[in-house]
């Protein structure tokens, strides 16, 4: 019954890799949309909105993602909202990622020279156009490297979705380890998969960082 580490284990770990990618995509897209709002709130002219966004960021950056997912998935039903695992993970990861991305993009927005939004104002552009046409495109470029850096963290972090039953990369390695008692091979393979996904992203991020270091 305990068996050798075979093709089946390899396949199930690769299968887990797809789930990891899907979870990361959900988290990144959800986090991106809400993160933009968080970043705008964090740089807004209203003090209370900035404070609110600041508290939101502090909370989600200050508690382990494990706890956040746990509280969303097992907590919502307690208050009468029964959600599917995908909905729960989408909510949990979106909240988590939006706090981090919001903070990263706030940095990007504030790194755009003040002269840019002044010049836009001087041309008569209003807030929406100023942000959409002038500030955000530059902010996104400036924060591209840290954004990708966070994406790498996020991909590794989705392993925590195992707690709500997702059989993703880490969990599939864990299962393979339990049925073969070869944890080093199982986790080693998982590590190789993570590395295969994350390394190119890290390189990309580093390249952009360098490009900006030389451009500015």
């Amino acid at each position: 019954m305990i068996r050798d580490f075979g093709l089946l284990e390899v396949l199930s770990i690769l299968q887990g890799m797809w789930t990891t990618l899907a979870l990361s995509a959900v988290a990144f897209i959800g986090g991106g949309v809400f993160g933009t709002l968080v970043a705008l709130a964090r740089t807004s002219a209203w003090k209370w909105l900035r404070a609110l966004a600041g508290a939101y960021i502090d909370f989600f950056q200050g508690t382990p993602m494990l706890m956040q997912l746990f509280l969303v998935y097992y907590g919502l039903p307690v208050f009468g909202y029964h959600v599917s695992a995908w909905t729960a993970v989408a909510i949990g990861l979106t909240l988590h990622a939006s706090a981090f991305l919001g903070e990263i993009w706030r940095g990007g927005i504030q790194a755009v020279p003040k002269g840019q939004s002044e010049a836009a104002s001087a041309l008569g552009l209003r807030y929406v156009s100023r942000m959409r046409d002038v500030v955000l495109p530059q902010a996104v470029k400036l924060s591209f490297a840290p954004t990708i850096g966070f994406l790498v963290q996020l991909i590794k972090g989705t392993s925590l979705a195992a707690i709500i039953g997702f059989v993703e990369l880490s969990r599939s390695a864990q299962i393979a380890a339990s049925t073969t008692y070869k944890p080093l091979i199982a986790y080693g393979l998982a590590a190789a998969c993570y590395f295969a996904i994350c390394f190119p992203l890290s390189r990309l991020s580093a390249r952009y960082e360098r490009r900006f270091a030389t451009n500015t």
């Binding site: 002044e118 010049a119 001087a122 041309l123 008569g124 530059q138």
Partner: protein, 262 residues
């Protein structure tokens, strides 16, 4: 000096209209506790060409930035072309659309091409169709003599070219007044002239201009009024001949001595 013969010509275009296009009354501005502008009063006639100089920190930038409300102010009023800069957001935008501004640091949008830089505001603010905006932009790029750079990005241009694009970009909104904040002081010496020439030709066409600059050659040949500011106040205001030959204030004299004497 090449601009000497221009002078007479510029002066001619001017005298015709005398109703003020900018009226600043009792303007007060604070940065926190720091009193940056102290009771500024100024009238600028249509077609007027004002050059403002003064030591660093004297409030020159602050004053012209108040004119199009990039800077808020605490007291006083500024009326531009009949529109008062009250609290209403609508008025602010109305004024900004009438007033062009050129910055020391160019402030071109680096992610847009030269052409797109010029088209952005007409499209977003004036709702001009894309095609027309492009035509307008090309007209003004020709006007500043760089139509061939239209599809480059700002980073690919020299400082002097960038500043001329910035001027063209402001002109695309067909402003009634142009504000310049030290437009040549971030430029390498050999590019100063091309930008000044562009400004001289704008003046020749009767554009109302408020210009912070220490280019005294330009001031002498183009300005109809020179203003010297210090400590947030207008210390001296006079036509160029008088300003240079017989400054009333001691501080003006010292300042002129410093910037002309090396």
């Amino acid at each position: 000096m090449a601009s000497a013969q221009i002078h007479a010509h510029v002066a001619d275009t001017h005298k015709a209209n005398e109703e003020p296009i900018i009226t600043i009354t009792g303007l007060q501005k604070y940065y926190g506790a720091f009193h940056a502008l102290k009771n500024i009063n100024l009238e600028v006639a249509k077609g007027g060409r004002i050059v403002i100089c003064g030591p660093s920190g004297s409030g020159k930038s602050t004053m012209i930035r108040c004119v199009n409300r990039i800077e808020e102010f605490e007291a006083g009023s500024i009326v531009v072309d009949g529109i008062s800069l009250g609290e209403s957001l609508k008025n602010v935008n109305a004024v900004r659309a009438e007033v062009g501004m050129v910055f020391q640091q160019f402030n071109l949008f680096p992610h847009l091409t030269v052409l797109e830089n010029c088209m952005l505001a007409p499209i977003r603010v004036r709702k001009v169709p894309r095609k027309d905006a492009e035509a307008i932009a090309m007209t003004y790029l020709e006007r500043v003599r760089i139509p061939d750079q239209a599809n480059k990005y700002p980073a690919q241009l020299s400082g002097g070219q960038q500043q001329r694009v910035a001027i063209a970009r402001a002109l695309c909104m067909t402003p009634k007044v142009m504000l310049f904040d030290e437009p040549t002081s971030a430029l390498d010496p050999e590019m100063v002239k091309e930008v000044l020439d562009t400004m001289v030709s704008l003046a020749q066409e009767g554009m109302t201009m408020l210009c912070v600059t220490h280019e005294m050659g330009f001031a002498r040949s183009v300005a109809d009024q020179l203003i010297f500011m210090d400590g947030g106040e207008i210390i001296e205001k006079a036509p160029p001949e008088e300003f240079f030959s017989a400054p009333k204030s001691e501080r003006t004299r010292n300042f002129l001595g410093q910037i002309l004497n090396h």
